[in-house]
Amino acid sequence: MREPDELRAIRKARAEWEQDTLRAVLDKWPERCEEFVTTSSEPVERLYTPLDVSDLDYGRDLGFPGQYPFTRGVHPSMYRGRLWTMRMFAGFGSVEETNARFKYLLSHGETGLSVAFDFPTLYGYDSDDPLAEGEFGKCGVAVSSLADMEVLFDGIPVDEITTSMTINGPAAVIWAMYIAAGEKRGIPMAKLGGTIQNDILKEYIAQKSWMLPPGPSMRLIVDTFEFGTQHLPRWNTISISGYHIREAGSTAAQELAFTLADGLAYVEAAIERGLDVDRFAPRLSFFFNAHNDLFEEIAKYRAARRIWACEMKERFHARDPRSWWLRFHTQTAGCSLTAQQPENNIVRTTIQALAAVLGGTQSLHTNSMDEALALPSEQAVRVALRTQQIIAHESGVASSADPLAGSYLVEAWTNRLEAEAYEYFRKIESLGGVIPALEQGFFQREIATSAYRYQREIEERRRIVVGVNEHLSAEPLSIPLLKMDPQGERRQRERLARVRSERDNDLLQRRLAALRQAAQGTENLVPHILDAVRAYGTLSEICNVLREVFGEYREPVII
């Protein structure tokens, strides 16, 4: 913290600079825009000085990596100790094709797996469900039973590598399939490491792959916390996400605030169940977007760590320092990538990945250049992976922790984002909490308004998107796009038919009945779901039991 005299001197000098040096230049050469704003439309000052961070206290506000409040990072040695996990989101078509893609990525140096499922799977439907028609494998891999999961991870050492699975509504069922597939290979569940996204609140708000209504969904999530705490010490039972909130069009402040508010709601729900915060909190994880604005994103991640640490310590009285850690995965912003001149997307992804690394992410996915056109081709995904490797080994930014700490801009923006998040927390509280707020459409309205404003800025050319509203090029598309195996769906249907006929159907029916009974009561559902999965119950069959007992969610329609 600077002395008042020093600040006064700087303030005086700045005023003189503005009146003399700056004024002379502005009179001759006006600035390029009326207003300079971030990607979130927040104003950007011409210059940041000690005056913008006059209250900053190193010990209180920044501290050291691995120490409360963790602004500078979760681990003491950060990337000098271990690089972030290079974890590329992958999945398309049939399990055979995705298994091959996993092996391709591993052979090219990725260090963690991440599974993208198709829409029917995301909603808890088998590939041959009538609602699945036309949707098989289009946005991710189709998984309808344990048999599929066994093929998906065939030849992959799941006891040595961690797997993240982007699955929410039916997360517990897909998790059970992963666990059971490991069991079949003699790998006990305690040895499995990975993450299930399992964050239903942001589904209602942004990603929209919900299944059950909020109450039963929260119950099921707390069931997974309980089960994970008891049986899978290496597993992150949730990835509390802001990525999708941002992709839906929110600002950085909204992404930060809504994600952390969701996280706090999960902690409250688990504590209400009677779980000890220090038992489950160390396995909560987060997932943020890395959008265009380099400094705003870095500030966002730092603010997130500081806020979470404070809330866990002060509000929930967690005593284990691991409960205060905000560990996160990052994905570069898909929504920022263009169909026009797709090679430009390599550059966008690089800048965004840099933000995530400078912000201290634990794990990173970089999008491929063909993001706006199709699922990634091999060539495109290889370049995306190389982007991370080049940042790691050639740019130098991984050699020192939180290198931008102390920057007047970065610290001012970290403070600003923290303050904005707390304003949103108060607003959400006034609406009755996260679930009442989402039922009233609060988050959805905020996001839709930000999305519309952003689009208007582009339309009016107040915001430039290279290749789209500036620097256009009429050249035709030159990059090859992914082609899926047209036999994939047929193979899947055949496998499903085999599974249904070869399994012990009486055993399955008994297990589904037990699940139904448990669902109607208060028992933990995960063991029952596991039993049904082990008996080769399909995704639809198991989820239908849950849908029958709990009903299905209907969203409030808001534009």
């Binding site: 839906a248 026009q340 199709a374 339309e459 969203e555």
Partner: protein, 134 residues
Amino acid sequence: MPEKKIRVLVAKPGLDGHDRGAKVVARALRDAGMEVIYTGLRQTPEMIASAALQEDVDAVGLSILSGAHMTLVPRVIKLLKEQGLEHVAVFLGGIVPDEDAPALRALGVKAIYGPGTTLDEIVRGVREGVAAGE
């Protein structure tokens, strides 16, 4: 005599949950003076055709980013015809590979609005498409 407002149904067919674009377009059409009904997510072709009939719309905008357009769009168009709504102008937005465009246009899709399309272009396109059908 005041011009009759164009009535547009903006719909999300199938399982696709990406609704940012559909909502932004719905708002833009509304700001341009049209009456917009947004269906929300997870609409079957039957639900869309039924809503188009009930709401007596002049245009239907389908938003599909899931890749399921070659299954869903023909179904919607077929159902619209069966309900006597062949005059309704159908538009498609989302992620649609160029190679699928000719087949979709042949089915009757007036225009396909991919990434980078401006809202102005869509507003104009809907106005022209509806006028052409009258």
